[in-house]
């Protein structure tokens, strides 16, 4: 008897549930809005003109498709490690999906293009967003400038300090940056403030959420906009090497770049996947941002997912050297992919990420963002254990210009 293929690509259901995760856990004031957003998104999905405009902007404004790049010297370096670590003659080929080459320097812009087109379709005249590392804020400010819409960015006051260059960029692009001082003054607090603004300005405002989290339809919508990464990568792999990769690796803050890469491959059983969370100072303490590996299910920011929380359900402050990974939750689809066993998850410490960061600078002449530096660190652990003819494809989802001050400080260098 034939077992029907159990697809991993049909989530969520029509209420936004990924298994027991996801959903629409928002205050009543927002409910009619998220329902309206879903209706409008479905209409846009069915409209070929919407897809055509999205594709056109991705090609000519963002610079897609992004290259698929084989990293020869990093591969060599990891093969030396394989030799010395008991896998002589082993060591996978390492390939990168170069989304750090996008306009504005990260994958975030893919999603922003999609959402601002939707906002304009809906007749919204004001855009708000939250940002952690500032990459999503910069991408949002960019598309707002491109389409002439006023833009307000909420950013934790702590992150405003850590990511000064991006704050300046957003201002140059005409956005108003509002530092958020409540709570730990990082990404989750910025998201609270974004939701508060939205509730108070429901009629004219569109909230561009920056990751695959929030109330339905955001997790699905952001994933779909970001899936351009995996669709391109899949086609590029097939045309370049004639086969699919063996392992996909991506870092996870809220999970959008990872889902963007993973989703188009979910029903390819030979392709394994590894999501990399931020282990901060280590998973044993509470100074990390690994919601899946160090958290438990709860409700925050409109969806049910894994959270960093105490026994009373109070959200705890995560820590990561990377402002973009420092979020106490994770997109609900990852929670479901973890429970279903389709994707493996691991975590990488601040120190390991710093080493990955420097390794890539040295071996490939690419300065990565601290977020994908976590993925690099994971690749340096797993690639040496794999056979020589296997292929690891990592999402190099952001460049590191914004992080050089943080890295300099960690390395004890004064700029």
């Amino acid at each position: 008897m034939n077992t029907p293929l159990n697809s991993f690509r049909t989530q969520p259901d029509d209420r936004g549930h990924f298994g027991q995760f996801g959903g629409r856990y928002v205050a009543e004031t927002l409910m009619p809005l998220v329902l309206d957003l879903e209706r409008e998104y479905r209409k846009a999905q069915a409209d070929p003109a919407f897809a055509a405009e999205f594709d056109d902007l991705l090609e000519h404004y963002v610079g897609r498709p992004s290259p698929l790049y084989f990293a020869p010297r990093l591969t060599e370096e990891l093969r030396l490690l394989a030799d010395s670590q008991g896998n002589p003659g082993g060591g996978a080929q390492v390939w990168f999906k170069r989304d750090e080459l996008n306009h504005t320097g990260a994958h975030k812009i893919n999603n922003c293009i999609g959402q601002i087109l939707l906002a304009m379709r809906m007749g919204k005249t004001r855009i708000i967003a939250e940002t952690g590392a500032g990459q999503h804020g910069v991408a949002t400010a960019t598309v707002c400038a491109r389409f002439g819409l006023p833009c307000v960015i909420y950013m934790g006051a702590e992150d405003v300090k850590r990511q000064a260059p991006n704050v300046f960029r957003m201002k140059l692009l005409g956005a108003e940056v509002i530092p958020v001082t409540s709570g730990g003054a990082t990404l989750k607090d910025a998201m609270n403030e974004g939701l508060r603004d939205w509730v108070a300005n429901v009629h004219d405002t569109f909230y561009i959420i920056g990751t695959a989290a929030g109330p339905h339809p955001y997790p699905e919508m952001v994933r779909n906009f970001q899936s351009v990464i995996g669709k391109e990568a899949r086609a590029q792999m097939l045309s370049r090497v004639g086969r699919l990769p063996d392992l996909l690796v991506a870092c996870i803050g809220g999970g959008s770049n990872a889902l963007g890469l993973f989703h188009p491959f979910l029903d390819d059983p030979s392709v394994k996947m590894l999501g990399v969370e931020a282990a901060g100072h280590g998973l044993d303490g509470d100074q990390h941002a690994a919601s899946l590996l160090g958290g438990s299910p709860g409700v925050l920011h409109g969806n049910r997912t894994y959270l960093l929380q105490d026994e009373d359900g109070q959200i705890t402050e995560g820590h990561s050297i990377s402002a973009g990974l420092d979020y106490p939750g994770i997109g609900p689809e990852h929670a479901w992919l973890k429970e279903s066993g389709r994707v493996d998850y691991t975590a990488v410490t601040d120190d390991e990420a710093l080493e990955g960061f420097q390794l890539l600078c040295r071996t490939e002449g690419i300065i990565p963002a601290l977020e994908p530096a976590h993925a690099i660190a994971a690749v340096t652990k797993v690639a040496p254990t794999m056979p020589r003819d296997s292929i690891v494809l990592m999402n190099l989802c952001g460049r590191g210009d914004k992080d050089i001050f943080t890295v300099a400080e960690k390395l004890g260098v004064e700029l």
Binding site: A27, E28, M31, V199, V299, H301, D312
Partner: protein
């Protein structure tokens, strides 16, 4: 009849007073509200991420959590309140995560044991409140606690029946599309919306968000069954600390007088 239905069956409108549990001397503050004429107490369960609240209640949440308030503490405040005030309805208000952390069943049972009459959970909409493992409404109803839902200016005619379905105790009409705090709605809009809700439901309707003064409270009491005051009281807790009870009494007495006599003036 439950404490809530008894209270709202009275001919005069009800004053509903909100403070955050664990922000100052909670027992003394609650007693001050009751002594000054509050008809229903809404006790806020502190949460790290009060998304629907403005600066005043956000700060109260942080003060309370900063002082170490736990869920057990909140339930103890409720239990002690019930012992001191056997007749006054007590409603817990808060966010989903602290309420469902140990499961809806656990929470409903603990709240029932503490003598709680109703629960307002800000961020579990009716769409998530029936078949999910975290549906709170069914567990509350099973323990005789009223799930009190919110309706807002954005709750249109198509959604209202869903919001009302399974609601008990009273319906909380949030008069502004916004967060708690200072913004105020026009009385005409409140009147129209309360009338709209009343056409679809027999539940009493209490109106809140942005109500600060006795004058505003009186105007609303003319058109609604209850008036909810929160931020103005919470600000007093924040400003006066241990000296808050006397100040709470002052404002609450004025509010209670205004609310309780609003319809008499209207008739005169």
């Amino acid at each position: 009849m439950t404490r809530l239905t008894t209270t709202f069956a009275a001919p005069r409108p009800a004053l509903v007073c909100f403070i955050t549990a664990g922000d100052g001397d909670t027992a003394a503050n609650l007693d001050a509200l009751v002594e000054a004429g509050a008809d229903v107490i809404e006790l806020g369960m502190p949460f790290t991420d009060p998304m629907a609240d403005g600066p005043a209640i956000q700060s109260a949440n942080l003060r309370s959590l900063g002082a170490g308030t736990t869920t057990a503490d909140v339930l103890r405040y409720a239990t002690d309140f019930r012992a001191r005030h056997p007749q006054v309805p007590l409603v817990l208000m808060g966010y989903a995560n602290p309420m469902v952390r140990r499961g809806p069943e656990w929470f409903a049972e603990a709240a029932a044991q503490a003598g709680v009459d109703g629960v307002i959970c800000v961020d579990i909409p009716p769409e998530e409140d029936f078949d999910s493992p975290w549906a709170l409404g069914p567990a509350l109803r099973a323990h005789g606690i009223a799930p009190i839902r919110l309706a807002t200016p954005t709750t249109d005619a198509a959604r209202l029946p869903q919001v009302l379905d399974g609601s008990e105790g009273f319906l909380y009409y949030v008069s502004v599309a916004g967060i708690t705090g200072k913004q105020q709605a026009l009385i005409e809009s409140i009147e129209a919306n309360v009338a709209r809700i009343k056409q679809s439901s027999d539940l009493p309707v209490a109106v809140g968000f942005g109500v600060r003064t006795p004058e505003q409270a009186a105007a609303i009491a003319k058109v609604a069954d209850g008036v909810v005051v929160g931020s103005a009281l919470v600000e007093i807790c924040g400003e006066y600390g241990a000296a808050a009870p006397a100040k709470l009494k002052e404002l609450t007495s004025a509010l209670a007088a205004a609310v309780h006599t609003a319809r008499q003036e209207h008739a005169a």
